[in-house]
Symmetry: C2
Subunit: 230 residues, 2 copies
């Protein structure tokens, strides 16, 4: 009997966030140290209740801005999946809608509210340890989604500065995928894919060696044929 507005079970809905960036040469995610039970003192993903009258996307965007200060134009935010195992929160039934956020490196989020600490933590480190609730699984799913999306979208560019070189973009792929790519074939691939990159006409020597063209992200939405992981 769907949609009976009286006899529904008591459920809370939250959004949890897999917020990724590249920091110090590794893929990193925002992790919060829990300031209360359950899982007191353990690391968890940031998240919170969906407010009354608030859309799911809006709730995720709000959480992300609260945690990182990222503004919407510099990042990518998409729904990842929902997690609702009956005992995933020991206190009550909680369904969590997880979101994946990707953005450039930023100052460390400051601790506040219920969380006794927040930091950008290397993803490998988080995945090697335990996380509160089912957040290990959520993080793993988010990282895999990010890896997959680099293959067929220009999303890697959101990890870069607004103007970036081909080598800087390549380093993003290499870090996220944990593989080395041939710089020459990579260069050919991204520069001949129409609409992927828009040349600025200027160059930089910030990476050393011969000056490199600077590019901005182009209008391309889907990269076909895709980039392939080593």
């Amino acid at each position: 009997m769907p949609y009976d507005p009286i006899a529904f079970p008591a459920v809370a809905v939250t959004v949890d966030l897999v917020a990724l960036t590249i920091r110090d040469g590794v893929l990193a995610a925002v992790a919060i140290r829990r300031g209360e039970e359950p899982f007191l003192g353990e690391w968890a993903l940031p998240g919170g209740f969906v407010r009354a009258g608030e859309d799911l996307d809006a709730a995720a965007g709000r959480e992300l801005t609260e945690e990182t200060g990222l503004t919407a134009d510099r990042l990518h935010l998409e729904q990842l999946a929902s997690y609702g195992a009956p005992r995933r929160d020991p206190r009550m039934r909680v369904i969590s809608v997880a979101y994946l956020g990707l953005g450039p490196d930023l100052p460390l989020p400051v601790a506040g509210g219920d969380a006794s600490g927040a930091r950008w933590a290397p993803v490998d480190e988080l995945l090697a340890a335990d996380l509160a609730f089912d957040h290990h699984r959520i993080l793993a799913d988010g990282v895999e989604r990010a890896r997959a999306k680099l293959e067929y979208t220009p999303l890697a560019t959101v990890f870069c500065e607004p103007e970036f070189t081909v080598a800087e973009l390549r380093r993003v792929y290499e870090i996220v995928w944990g593989a080395t790519l041939d710089g020459r074939n990579f260069h050919r691939k991204v520069t001949t894919a129409a609409g992927f990159l828009r040349p600025t006409g200027t160059t930089t020597t910030r990476d050393g060696g011969r000056p490199a063209q600077l590019y901005r992200r182009g209008d391309l939405q889907v990269l076909y044929p895709p980039m392939l992981r080593g």
Copy 2:
């Protein structure tokens, strides 16, 4: 302040189902005629509350079995996405976790419970009309997911009988994608992809003409390189 078990807004969580099959040569979805307000008399996707102590996947599987009688071994069921716009249900806040189910053709589901009618309806027909709530969007997302997954998984086989010919499999692709494929290139692609198909050693003439090899689905999980839509 996440996970405060007292002060959470009143929310109901449902699962909605995009249940697809191939029937009479077209892609069809289960549609329910609503037996009560709101949207009384309109077509909707099947769905219902997640019960206390019930996992999301289990709730989706239960709904699917109730509606179609499909048993788990003959079908594919995966989470699609969650929909939680504040006014998507006019009575109260409802978050819906949508699932995509794919399976072979079955007898028409029988009407029962709150629904005054249920049928397999051609997807094109449903998408050309209006559906209750935001179910048009959910159905469109589900169909697009199914189309995309045929490219890189052997999922098309779940629409077939346990033993099927290459041509029958090709017809699945053609119906779901709405495109014609070259039978000769298709044959080469699926028979040379290691693990996609497992030959039974028997043949059939049920499609007319020269007898065709019968196959079962193989162990392959991901098809690489993928099949391409016309």
